[in-house]
């Protein structure tokens, strides 16, 4: 039974890249679509593997000849755990407890524990892929620079065990959030805040560790004095370098996974079938005021966004990152100035770097990329109403802009003040980041119209695991890298104003092109989508 349930979940993942034919029937993803996504996945995977390989070579060359295999593996285990944990934490709760077929499965003679295993299997598969991007380069580098068979076997064992441990922990966090949310009134707000609290705690620990790891290569002698938890990193690394450590890791991973599985299985029915604790408010008639169709649609879209913690946490994180990046830039503005000088750039390049920071964080907002798919079974409502495709698409675009643009604008002004912007730089500080938000929103929606997915097992499928979100993410990464390349290169040649101008013009051009694509071919495509 578990096998069949897992097969159903995996099939739904494959069909997530499918869509609807013109006549409204569900299509299998075409070979070309699968091929394109496969190539993009490989490219993304290769990029990350390449980055982690470079990191591993850098650290391995310094540490491994000195016999610091423990430290080397310790850092990679921490990086791998942190990366995978943060990527899975927001998804696990939704995957476990918020699937639309919960009622159907629970009404069948299927043990809740089997449902739990099948739900978590998808997250576990993702986690194995993500762990591989970090740990495989580390193991390879260890094999080249150290070559100890025990360390290689230990590295492989760590790779096999870590996803189990991470998945168990993220399931545990998801379970705790679900248990708390079950007992409270404003589920969305509390779930979002709790998840963010876990995220912030993680962020502080992680950035602290990474910062210290950076210092490691330079100030090896003073490590024990400046970083009190260095022995702990070594201890963590020992899970891959000695037999006892390996046994501890295996026991810890399997044990944690088993405990999480038992607890969640026991409580699964109670959590998924929990009655709402919200007291039924009796309706008191109020005068309802007429609004335009576009305002009504936008209001509805905003309510959809703010009523789903899954949507907020997976698609709206860019807004939080914008604030974080701005705060970091303001706090470390002196360091920035030194770094810019060290790179041989003029002081005016600060404004380019600040704008690039805002472009980077804007790319993490993905609200529009799933806005159409989230109509799901309710698509008949807008389709049967006298609404033009343009009105519907505008309303799908609006929440992305309403959520991201004001924050970006405020942060732009703060950075403008912190960077002591000249009058010439001010328009670039304001327009480029805002326009980038518009461009990313347009691209996400264009992708969603091109690859809509209405048969959803839960919201997370549209918000996190769908083709449009993946494609939008890749586009945002490529754009950020290209913009950074152009901006930094021109600044290094002493032309920061030209860098600003080129970035703005390119953004403007692409935004206009995407707007055309959205409101002409995409609008036609929307009209053809059948219910």
């Amino acid at each position: 039974m578990i096998g069949r349930l897992i097969a159903i979940r995996l099939r739904s993942l494959v069909t997530a890249v499918g869509g609807k034919r013109k006549d409204g029937t569900v299509s299998r993803p075409s070979v070309w679509k699968l091929l394109l996504l496969g190539v993009l996945f490989l490219w993304l995977g290769a990029t990350f593997v390449g980055l982690f390989t470079l990191l591993a070579i850098g650290m391995g060359m310094t540490m491994l000849p000195l016999g610091q295999g423990d430290m080397f593996y310790g850092l990679f285990v921490i990086i791998s755990f942190s990366l995978v944990f943060i990527l899975s934490i927001f998804e696990t709760k939704s995957e476990l407890f918020e699937c639309r077929d919960n009622e159907l499965l629970l009404s069948m003679p299927i043990k809740p524990s089997h449902i739990v295993v099948s739900r978590i299997a998808t997250v576990l598969i993702y986690n194995y892929v993500e762990t591989a991007t970090v740990m495989v380069p580390a193991i390879a580098v260890f094999a080249v620079f150290d070559g100890s068979p025990l360390g290689i076997v230990g590295g492989i064992l760590a790779f096999l065990m870590l996803p189990l441990f991470t998945t168990a922990l993220s399931s545990g966090v998801g379970y705790i959030v679900a248990e708390i949310a079950k007992r409270i009134k404003n589920k969305t707000l509390i779930t979002t805040l709790l998840s963010l609290a876990f995220f912030v705690a993680y962020f502080f620990v992680y950035t602290g560790l990474i910062g210290d790891a950076g210092a490691m290569e330079e100030t090896e002698d003073s490590l024990a004095i400046t970083i009190p938890y260095i022995p702990a990193i070594g201890f963590i690394g020992s899970v891959a370098t000695n037999v006892l450590g390996m046994l501890v890791l295996a026991a810890l991973s399997v044990g944690t996974a088993y405990v999480a599985y038992r607890i969640i299985s026991e409580r699964y029915f109670a959590i998924t079938r929990a009655e709402s604790v919200v007291a039924r408010r009796e309706y008191k008639a109020k005068r309802l005021v007429r609004r335009s169709a576009l305002v009504a649609l936008t209001g509805k879209e905003l309510r959809r966004f703010f009523s789903s913690s899954v949507y907020i946490l997976n698609a709206g994180m860019g807004v939080i990152f914008t604030v974080v990046i701005t705060a970091l830039a303001v706090i470390n503005s002196t360091d920035f100035a030194y770094a810019i000088e060290a790179l041989g750039m003029p002081a005016e390049a600060t404004s380019v770097v600040f704008v690039l920071g805002l472009i980077l964080s804007s790319g993490m907002t993905m609200i529009s990329a799933s806005a159409l798919s989230l109509e799901g079974n309710s698509l008949w409502i807008p389709k049967s109403m006298p609404l033009s495709a343009k009105t519907v698409l505008l309303s799908k675009l609006a929440p992305h802009l309403i959520v991201s643009v004001p924050v970006t604008l405020i942060c732009s002004v703060i950075l403008m003040i912190a960077g002591k912007a000249t009058p010439l730089e001010i328009p670039f500080y304001i327009i480029t980041p805002v326009l980038t938000n518009v461009m990313f929103a347009l691209f996400g929606l264009v992708m969603n119209v091109a690859f809509p997915k209405f048969e959803l097992i839960n919201d997370a499928q549209a918000v996190k695991s769908s083709a449009p979100v993946f494609l939008a993410m890749i586009f945002d990464i490529i754009w950020t890298l290209a913009a950074s390349g152009i901006g930094i290169l021109l600044s290094m040649f002493g032309m920061p104003l030209l860098a600003h101008t080129v970035l703005l013009l390119l953004t403007l051009l692409l935004t206009a092109l995407l707007a055309l694509i959205l409101f002409i071919p995409c609008a036609r495509k929307y009209d053809r989508i059948g219910v």
Partner: protein
Amino acid sequence: MLKIQNLTKKYGEKCAVDNLTLEIAPGEIYAFIGHNGAGKTTTLKACMGILSFDEGNIFIDGKSVLDDPMYTKQITAYIPDNPDLYDFLSGVKYLNFVADVFGVETSLRNERIATLADKFGLTKDLAQPISSYSHGMKQKLAIISAWIHSPKLIIMDEPFVGLDPKASFILKEMMREHCERGGSIFFSTHVLDVAEKLCDKVAIIKDGRLVVSGSMDEVRGDESLEEVFLELLGGEEE
């Protein structure tokens, strides 16, 4: 009011609706019956312009759903077989949203929501999120939203499913009143007793092809609608 001309709809090789022609005049209640998978829902969706078709045309109030969809949708209301509404909205917010899209005047919407919600006993639940509604409550809300902009034509797919006896009675009353005011109703149903008592005309469809259509008396003759239906479709009804 509604004219379906030689409608053909194929899903790949399968012909879901084959050369269907029907006409519904103002003031008529028209029942559309057939076994599961006969092509009823496909036809109703095509009439709403939410599903494309391969051949033929559909006219509402003289305008083609292909050429002037904004007009035809403005004067039509649709209730699907499964009322998947916006779960994240409350009942009243959903109704207000529908009223906004159809441009219903402030005073009219307030009056209609109050009257219709009261009729279906839904008033006290209007502040609740739709996610907390039962199937029947969602169906009632979908019915209220269909009536809120006073459409000329109402298209309903199995509207009585999930309704309690009182709500079914109220819906039948509303359907009659709507047609007395010159409106038209085209709906599919498996409840043949209701169709027999309520409708002016009936069409029976089998495997996408129209088997018989006409006034209830013509179609039924001396038999009950159930007997005619079973004779025509060979007892295939599940």
